[in-house]
Symmetry: C2
Subunit: 444 residues, 2 copies
């Protein structure tokens, strides 16, 4: 570690260990908040209180809907943001010498599916040996706790950062990315952003651009006794989904010549997330709507991909013998419409992260590996629209967006240490005599 | 017409004509009642009042849920019947000489689909030249008005029936048939039942048995970045629906050797009426449920068809490479599970109906034609479980279960006349001096 003494490093690592049970308790509190879309206010209030207690300059940042359509970082939105706001915490040093840092994490979660399919209720934050269970435990409340407690550890080690640091606790990552977009559009910036998404302690080298659509088909309703007089909107939707698999295949094929993506299985990954059609068991259904997402490659213009998908649907609407009997399918954009990004190999930030990772895994840890994540990440907003190098690196988690989501606590401990060492090295540290502004629980 | 004098016949036909605008007003009132499933109380109250006003012995008949599963006329039900009750009107003559008659009609309607797709709002009962528009106008509030006003016309002609007549204004035809089942299970019977469903002034020779199912698939939810680790419940449902088309084809093929069904296009008619799956746009969906119906032939045991469909689904669940990765599909029976029926050609009832039909169309009307209706009809309940010959014969209607449902008023007038002449001939009539018990509106 270039600029961090061995003694400082050891004190930081020890401080992470010392506060780790407190960190798990904090994480468990976050998991117990049901921060589904539109319901993030409770968890954000807790995050805000925790950051105020630590002495940060804390503000609530509401998403300004008038920026949507005007600022390119924003994606279309279909909901009110009245109760959805970012928490922005800033810590400016007395003396600025190093490089500034943003630690970003999102607090919004996706639905649980049938809670009965979970081994424990999804919002109880059940701890079982090395695992903490719960919706959002891995994706990504663990990462948020790592960001907060990593900075705590630096102070508990008697050090303070010598560059500005910000914590962006954002909303909307799971649907539009408009939480991160608001942070960027408001002018917040830094020399690097680190986002502890659940990456199995690997670094994200690139991610895919993603567009999220809703497509509505209208059929011709009819009585079952005269099926041939009707056109089933559900059947038309099923056919259109089948056709869209061709588009997925074509976009997947493009991956073969993309840097970093040639070994990714199914990089475009068309997924149909919801479908709702019909209103009566014994009528030929008049309407069917499905929602989904599809991915593409860094450097691709997402709006060009939007046009490509719309043109594909329009062509199918003419060519398919069933769908041509329906009014034109209605394509709506109801979530993220965003480019992917690539983290150029060989950056100073990556080198420092690799050293921190090694130190946190000492004595015999694995080297820092990188991989491609074929999904949307808020990192893309910082990388594409603010030109900030974006490191996505976080703990081992399983079953995100699935049943029995869980995060490894041993991994979370290592990741917290890695982030602490990364921040200390990237921003620089100096000794402080007095650490009494830390909350009491950190002196237990 | 065997036992009806030409003078009586003319008086009955004239009485239908005279009250026809009143009948249209009554029908329009019925159409304005939004009698969707569970919301039939309003329309039934109006029917009850109209029948009380006419001097019938009227009672409300609640469906007894404890009979479901015990009495074979009943189908599975999934809703409360608290606000859904039949109206039963009985008129017993002073002297019984002829044969008794039940006139049955259902008041429940199916949803409208998007009302904006209707040329006029679906519950305004808009009249445009020969057509009365509205959900339920054809299926089958027009038929109910025909039954009531046909009997009115007989009395207005100075006649009274010489056999018992009942009007069964029932609920639940569109989903379970349990309204008619309750009427039959309560012991109500007659020598014939006539049901003025919208049949384009033709007689139903046979109908199909029908079973209505809901099938739930559970998948393995996953994040789009690891699609291969998940199993999409929506995709599994789409595949199962495709497989079920094979079952439909097989059951359709059986029609070739069925009396009356060999010329019916798609007699089994698998229709998928609703589908609902997934809960998040960017997750591999964990659950998908669809509802539908499929038909078969008179004489088939519906419970055997239930077992056949369940066995088919169970085999697919083993054989299909995607569905075999899901828990076993859950098949539920959520609507009618009922046999079809055949009206044996050559009955006296059919002969009398044909003569009444000809007289109502005189001088140059078409002969009474018969056809197969490949859907569930309440007539099957009377035919199968009470052994009552069932005549299904009613007006010309278009777009039932569809957009812009409408009934032909000229046809409704003819059908009302046909029913009146049929009832007078079937039950027999005698002159009465005093018709003052009819409501005032019939003397306008």
């Amino acid at each position: 570690m270039s600029c961090l003494s061995e003694a400082d490093q050891d004190r930081i690592l020890a401080a992470v260990d010392e506060a780790f049970e407190t960190q798990i308790a904090f994480l468990s509190d976050l998991v117990r908040c049901v921060s589904l879309r539109g319901q993030e206010a409770d968890v954000q209030s807790r995050v805000e209180a925790a950051l105020l207690e630590r002495g940060y300059d804390v503000s609530r940042q509401t998403i300004d809907p008038t920026l949507i359509g005007r600022h390119p970082a924003f994606s279309p939105a279909t909901v009110s943001y009245e109760n959805s706001w970012n928490v922005i915490a800033v810590q400016n040093p007395a003396i600025t010498e190093g490089r500034s840092l943003i630690l970003n994490a999102h607090v919004d979660i996706v639905p649980t599916g049938d809670p009965k399919r979970w081994q424990d209720p999804p919002f109880e934050a059940t701890r079982d040996d090395d695992w903490l269970y719960g919706r959002g435990s891995g994706d990504m409340k663990a990462g948020l706790s790592a960001a907060i407690f990593a900075l705590d550890a630096i102070r508990a080690a008697g050090l303070e950062l010598t560059a500005p640091v910000q914590i962006h606790s954002v909303v909307e990552e799971e649907i539009t990315g408009n939480g991160a977009a608001m942070a960027v559009a408001s002018g917040l910036t830094a020399d690097v952003v680190l986002i502890p998404e659940p990456t199995d302690e690997k670094l994200v080298r690139a991610n895919s651009g993603v567009i999220k659509f809703a497509i509505t088909l209208h059929g011709t309703p009819a009585h079952p006794r005269e099926v041939s007089g009707g056109v089933s909107a559900i059947e038309a939707a099923m056919r259109l989904i089948e056709h869209l698999r061709q588009l997925e295949a074509r976009w997947n094929e493009e991956g073969a010549i993309q840097p970093f993506f040639h070994n990714v299985e199914n990089p475009a990954a068309l997924t149909i997330g919801t479908i709702n059609g019909g209103e009566w068991i014994a009528s030929v259904p008049s309407c069917c709507r499905f929602e989904g997402r599809i991915g593409f490659y860094p450097g691709d213009d997402p709006h060009e991909r939007v046009r490509e998908l719309e043109a594909f649907v329009a062509r199918i609407a003419v060519d398919d013998p069933l769908i041509q009997r329906c009014p034109a399918p209605i394509v709506e954009w109801v979530g993220v419409v965003h480019a992917g990004y690539t983290l150029a190999p060989g950056s100073d930030a990556e080198g420092i992260l690799a050293e921190a990772h090694a130190a946190a895994h000492a004595p015999n840890g694995p080297a820092l590996n990188s991989y491609v994540m074929a999904c949307y990440l808020d990192a893309a907003v910082y990388a594409v629209h603010a030109g900030i190098p974006s490191l996505v690196y976080g703990p081992i988690a399983e079953n995100i967006h699935a049943i029995d989501e869980r995060v490894s606590l041993a991994s979370l401990r290592r990741v917290t240490k890695t982030i602490a060492l990364f921040a200390a090295t990237w921003c620089g540290v100096r000794s402080v005599a007095d650490a009494s502004h830390l909350p009491a629980s950190h002196h237990d």
